[in-house]
C-alpha cells in the first residue's frame, strides 16, 4: 500500500487564523500509515501565528500576496504548485484517523473515479450544537451517503477531507469561488464531466464543528446559500444525471416545503387544531434513531449518541430557518450571499 501511493499525493490545507488547530492537522497528515509526499499549508494572510506554527509542525507553508477571501481561493493558490498525480483537500481544523488516507486511496484504483471522500465526525462533542451535528453526521454518513455511494452519486465530496486526481481537478476548474459551497460545486462539475466520485466510510476524519450559535449560524448561512447557489448554477447539467437529479429535487423540496411545514404549519396547527400536533416535531425520531444507533453501537458510542439525540431536533429547526432564508434571498429577492464568512 505504502509503495503503491508513495510520492503520488500532496495534501493542501487552506488556513486563515488557524494557529490553534493547524499543528494537529499537519501532524495527523504526516503520521498517516500512508503519508502524503508533501503537506502544503496555505496561510491566507493570517493575523496570528498560523504560518510559523504550521512550518514548525512540518508543513510547507505558502502565502498568497493578499488574502484570497475564501477557502476556495486559498486552495487554488496552492493547486498551481502541486505536481503529484493526486491532491487531497483537508481543512486546517480537521484531523484524520491514522489510517484514513490508506483507506481512502484505493477508491482511486478505478480509473473512472476522480474524487473520493470519507466519513466525517465532529472532533469535540460537548455543546448542544456539536451534539446536534454529531447526530446529523451519524445519520448522513451511516445511511444517506452510503446509499448515494451505492448509486454511484455521493451528493458532495466533503470539502474537509477529499482526494482528487490532480489533472481532472484542474480540468474541472478546481475549487471555484462562484458559490459559497465550493465542494458541492466541484462535485457536481465532476459529475457533469461524466467522472465518478466515491464515498469510503472506513476513512474517518474529525473536523472541529461550531460550538456556539454564532459560529453555527455562519456555517449554516454559508451552506444553505451554497446549496441554493449550486442548484441555480448546475440545474441544467443535473437534469441528465438520473439519481443525482432525483436527490437534489427531493432535497430542494425538503429545504423549502418541509422547512415551511416545520416552522409555520406545525405551530399554526398546534394553535388552531390541537397542541398534540406538536408531536409532529418528533414523529420521525425512531426513523432517525435507527441508523444513528446502528453506527454508534459499532463505534461504541451508544451513550454519546443517545445523550446527543435531542440536540439534533434543535439544530434541524435552526437549519430550516437558514434554509428558508437562503431560498428567499437567493431565488426571490435575487440577492445572493457573496461574502465568505469563516466559521468552522
Amino acid at each position: 500500500m505504502g509503495q503503491t501511493y508513495e510520492n503520488r499525493l500532496t495534501a493542501i490545507v487552506p488556513a486563515y487564523n488557524e494557529a490553534a488547530t493547524v499543528t494537529e492537522t499537519v501532524r495527523s497528515l504526516l503520521e498517516q500509515t500512508v503519508a502524503p509526499a508533501q503537506v502544503i499549508v496555505i496561510d491566507d494572510c493570517s493575523t496570528d501565528d498560523t504560518a510559523s506554527v504550521a512550518e514548525a509542525a512540518g508543513a510547507t507553508v505558502v502565502r498568497p500576496p493578499a488574502n484570497t477571501g475564501s477557502k476556495a481561493g486559498a486552495q487554488m493558490h496552492a493547486l498551481r504548485a502541486v505536481d503529484t498525480e493526486l491532491v487531497m483537500a483537508v481543512d486546517a481544523d480537521t484531523t484524520l484517523a491514522p489510517d484514513a488516507i490508506e483507506k481512502l486511496l484505493p477508491a482511486l484504483d478505478d480509473p473512472e473515479v476522480v474524487a473520493a471522500c470519507g466519513f466525517v465526525l465532529p472532533r469535540d462533542v460537548g455543546s448542544v450544537w456539536e451534539r446536534g451535528r454529531y447526530v446529523e453526521y451519524m445519520l448522513a454518513f451511516s445511511f444517506f451517503k452510503r446509499i448515494q455511494d451505492t448509486f454511484e452519486k455521493p451528493l458532495i465530496s466533503s470539502g474537509c477531507f477529499s482526494v482528487y486526481r490532480t489533472a481532472e481537478l484542474r480540468e474541472a476548474g478546481g475549487w471555484s469561488t462562484r458559490t459559497l459551497a465550493e465542494d458541492m460545486d466541484l462535485t457536481w462539475s465532476l459529475y457533469a464531466a461524466r467522472h465518478k466520485v466515491r464515498f469510503v466510510p472506513e476513512a474517518v476524519s474529525y473536523p472541529v464543528e461550531p460550538h456556539d450559535f454564532d459560529f453555527m449560524g455562519k456555517q449554516l448561512r454559508r451552506w444553505s446559500h451554497g446549496f441554493v447557489q449550486n442548484v441555480r448554477l448546475h440545474w441544467r447539467s443535473l437534469l441528465s444525471l438520473g439519481y443525482l437529479r432525483s436527490m437534489v429535487a427531493v432535497a430542494f423540496w425538503d429545504a423549502m416545503v418541509a422547512s415551511l411545514a416545520y416552522l409555520v404549519l406545525l405551530p399554526l396547527l398546534a394553535i388552531l387544531v390541537s397542541p398534540l400536533v406538536l408531536v409532529g416535531y418528533l414523529i420521525d425520531a425512531p426513523v432517525i434513531l435507527v441508523p444513528v444507533l446502528w453506527q454508534a453501537v459499532g463505534r461504541r458510542e451508544t451513550l454519546r449518541a443517545l445523550a446527543s439525540f435531542p440536540s439534533f431536533f434543535l439544530l434541524r429547526m435552526v437549519n430550516g430557518v437558514f434554509m428558508l432564508s437562503a431560498v428567499w434571498r437567493e431565488m426571490i429577492l435575487r440577492r445572493p450571499l457573496l461574502v465568505y464568512e469563516k466559521g468552522h
Binding site: F144, I147, L233, V250, A258, V287, L315, R316
Partner: protein, 138 residues
Amino acid sequence: MSAGIPGMGLGGLFFVLSALLAPLLELARVARGTSTPARRRQIARQFAIAIAMIAAVDLTLRGFLLVAAALGSGAFSDAGGAFVLPLAPIGITGAVLAFVLLIAKSMAVVQGLRRGTQASRPPSSGARRRPRAARAEA
C-alpha cells in the same frame, strides 16, 4: 441530502426506497459480473437499516395506540393488529415524492427535446450570444 433539513418525510422515504430497491438493482450487476462482495455487504447493511426503520415506525405507533387505548379511547383499538403503519400518510408522502421526481424527470425530457431540436436546426447567421459560462463568470 442534508440530514439537517427538516422533514424525514420525502427525503427519508426516498432513501428508504432506494435502500429497499438496491438489492434488486444489484442483481443486474451480479448478472453482468460487476458486483463485488464489498458492494453486496454495503447493500445488505442499508437494506437491513431500512427494514429496521420501518419496524421502528411500526413499533412506535403501536406504543402510541396502546397508550391511547389504555387511556380509554375506543378509537384506538388496533394496537394488537399485525400491522399499524399509517398507510394513508405514507401513501400521500409517496404520491408527493412521485410528483417531485416526475417534475424533475419531465424537465430532463423537455431539455433533451430542446437539445434535439437545436441540434437539427441550421446555425444562425445573426449575432452570436455569449456562452453561458462566460456570462456566469462576468
